[in-house]
């Protein structure tokens, strides 16, 4: 049974539709990420699950029960905000204990539960301090402790890492995932950061302009994007106009740059037959080389236009004929210089195809 179900949900603000008709199942115990750019409706969905917003149409089910009319304080959810939202006039321990006061927890057991939650987030000694005495990362851990100490049915995380520094964000990401796996709580995580989504999720829901674009495991949405939007939003992709010329046991698409490309059928699930199509080539699958490719690998001559050196990797903008392409390559010595003539290597099995 799914822990949370959005059934034919629509949310309008006046004449603006923030969420178009959406149906979504969030499996029990899963870490599900709502991923998309700002304004895609991901936070609106989260706030509707939380009970902070009412859906205009449709039903929200938590644990199989319709909760549209259940007020937020009776939904038993853990909510973590981007800006931590700790109560500044209460100590850390009082913050964590806040939710327990409204539950049937005997007073004598509260300190032990608070301490267990603080231990879980690896901040066992800060109970007497005030939130402003802690760093941003520590505050977010306390916010997490406060949300999970009440043993919520669902944990809702609204961009919890966005306010943190880059390094801390990656540490917290691992930490958050560890805690979630340990307590096994169903988690809905909202982010605009694709690397967070890919690293943490069991399931990613990619959203754009109030619609769900694709639902899948991280490697599914990454390797087999269901739409041009997904291909562009997750990582860097080259999307070229192409034509499907063979659609059977194998799928063959032809475009102006790479010629005929045999795409694995699994990576063109939405392509229904011959006709206009789009070829999706991940930037990191396009390798630059000074030599032509061996047999079985597509090889296209090109000129390097721009070099964006990033240390362990380099991002090239190259021109092959009329088309500008992006390539992200790992390097161990010197990158190609701008203006260099190179060969682009591409394995056909690394390509995906979309309907045109």
């Amino acid at each position: 049974m799914s822990a949370v179900t959005l059934q034919d949900i629509v949310k309008r603000f006046g004449t603006f539709t923030a969420v178009h008709r959406t149906t979504l199942e969030i499996p029990e115990g899963a870490f599900v990420t709502l991923l998309g750019p700002s304004g895609c409706g991901k936070t609106t969905n989260l706030r509707m699950i939380a009970g902070l917003l009412d859906p205009t149409e449709g039903d929200i089910l938590i644990g199989g029960k319709r909760v549209n009319d259940v007020p937020i304080h009776k939904r038993n959810l853990g909510l973590v905000f981007q800006n931590y939202a700790l109560f500044p006039h209460k100590t850390v321990a009082e913050n964590v204990a806040f939710g327990l006061k409204y539950r049937d927890v005997p007073k004598a057991e509260i300190p032990a539960k608070v301490q267990a939650a603080l231990d879980l987030v690896q901040l066992p000694h800060v109970g007497d301090r005030y939130p402003k005495e802690l760093s941003g990362g520590q505050q977010q851990r306390i916010a997490l402790a406060r949300a999970i100490v009440i043993e919520p049915d669902v944990l809702l995380l609204d961009e919890p890492l966005s306010a943190l520094d880059a390094n801390l964000r990656e540490d917290m990401r691992v930490e958050l995932k560890r805690i979630q796996e340990r307590i096994g709580v169903t988690t809905v995580f909202v982010t605009h950061d694709q690397s967070e989504a890919l690293a943490m999720s069991d399931l990613i829901v990619v959203m754009s302009e109030g619609r769900v674009e694709q639902v899948g495991k991280p490697e599914e949405v990454y390797n087999t994007p269901a739409s041009e939007f997904v291909a562009n939003f997750l990582g860097a992709s080259n999307i070229t106009e192409a034509k499907c010329i063979e659609h059977g046991a194998s799928v063959v698409v032809e475009d102006a740059t790479f010629g005929k490309v045999t795409v694995p059928a699994a990576k063109a699930p939405n392509l229904t037959g011959q006709g206009p199509a789009k070829l999706v080539v991940r930037a990191e699958k396009l390798l630059l080389s000074k030599d032509p490719a061996p047999e079985g690998v597509i090889s296209v001559p090109a000129t390097v236009e721009t070099v964006d050196y990033q240390g362990q990797a380099v991002r090239y903008f190259v021109r092959a004929g009329e088309t500008q392409l992006q390539a992200i390559n790992m390097i161990d010595e010197h990158p190609f210089a701008a203006g260099a003539s190179v060969h682009l290597h591409l394995r056909p099995q690394d390509c995906a195809a979309l309907p045109g």
Partner: protein, 288 residues
């Protein structure tokens, strides 16, 4: 001159007009008043220069002055409490309203565009014997004779609340604006009802604004002079009226000086107590 020295001087240069104004318009006149309070008004009408404690003795020992001082503080306190009770919900409503916040704040400031005296006198047209309320009640046949509603302590308090409410609303509004609305959402998600979230989170966090507004209302209310003159009866004089009486009517500047310094000292002590517990920083924030 080195850059450091110039930078060190810059704040003082920028501050000098304000410091000059405070010095010449406040501190020096206040010194005059201190000096005056030790002079003595003779039977002839001329002030006797010297160091006499008679005015202070009178101001501090006369029951008449003491009663009026206590009554003044009582009226200011009642006004402050009413302003707090009425102002808080209004400020909360403005702080939580979406979109039309600016219009609501503008409406709040609108009374300041009209003279305080005119605003106070408007109550005569409402509560006077031939005022709007009496006329309405008589037209409806509820009363046959006009009621005497004006010129008592209640109307003085009414006038003060009318005058001071915007100060309270603005101070509470500023502190409510500074509170993250996610805090209430967080509290309700943890199981608190809207009301519990308010009393547990929002109210304690907005107390500094309430206290700052309260202090302003109290000090301005205790120092008021116009309201009791226009809306009070003969027995509703407040302390500032005594100062006016002594200086303008009796031309007894030394006594008037001692009385005004007494009020200043009492309010100063109360502000000091407030500062001890809540801090002036909050007041500055509320005014800013």
């Amino acid at each position: 001159m080195s850059i450091e020295a110039r930078e060190a001087r810059q704040p003082w240069i920028l501050l000098s007009p304000a410091l000059g104004a405070v010095l010449f318009l406040l501190i020096i006149p206040l010194m005059f008043i201190v000096v005056y309070s030790f002079w003595l008004r003779s039977a002839m009408g001329a002030d006797q220069v010297g160091f006499y404690l008679d005015n202070w003795q009178k101001a501090l020992s006369d029951r008449f002055y003491r009663d009026i001082l206590l009554n003044t503080l009582k009226i200011a306190a009642i006004t402050t409490v009413i302003c707090g009770l009425m102002g808080y919900p209004a400020a909360y409503f403005i702080a939580r309203s979406k979109g039309n916040k600016m219009i609501l704040l503008l409406l709040l400031m609108l009374p300041f565009w009209i003279s305080y005296i005119i605003r106070t006198m408007s109550w005569i047209n409402i509560l006077g014997t031939s005022g709007a309320l009496n006329t309405l009640l008589m037209t409806l046949g509820i009363i046959s004779e006009p009621m005497q509603m004006l010129y008592n302590e209640a109307t003085v308090i009414l006038g003060l609340v009318h005058f001071l409410l915007p100060f309270m609303v603005l101070n509470v509004y500023v502190s409510l604006e500074g509170i993250d609305t996610n805090l209430e959402d967080a509290a309700t998600s943890l199981g608190a009802t809207r009301w519990e979230a308010f009393t547990q989170v929002t109210l304690p966090l907005s107390l500094p604004g309430l206290a700052a507004g309260g202090l302003l209302c109290f000090v301005l209310g205790a120092g008021t002079y116009i309201t009791p003159v226009i809306l009070g009866g003969p027995r509703d004089a407040m302390f500032a009226n005594l100062v006016f009486e002594a200086i303008i009517t009796q031309l007894n500047w030394p006594l008037g000086s001692a009385l005004s310094l007494l009020l200043l000292a009492v309010l100063g002590v109360l502000v000091g107590i407030y500062n001890r517990y809540l801090g002036m920083a909050q007041l500055a924030k509320g005014l800013g």
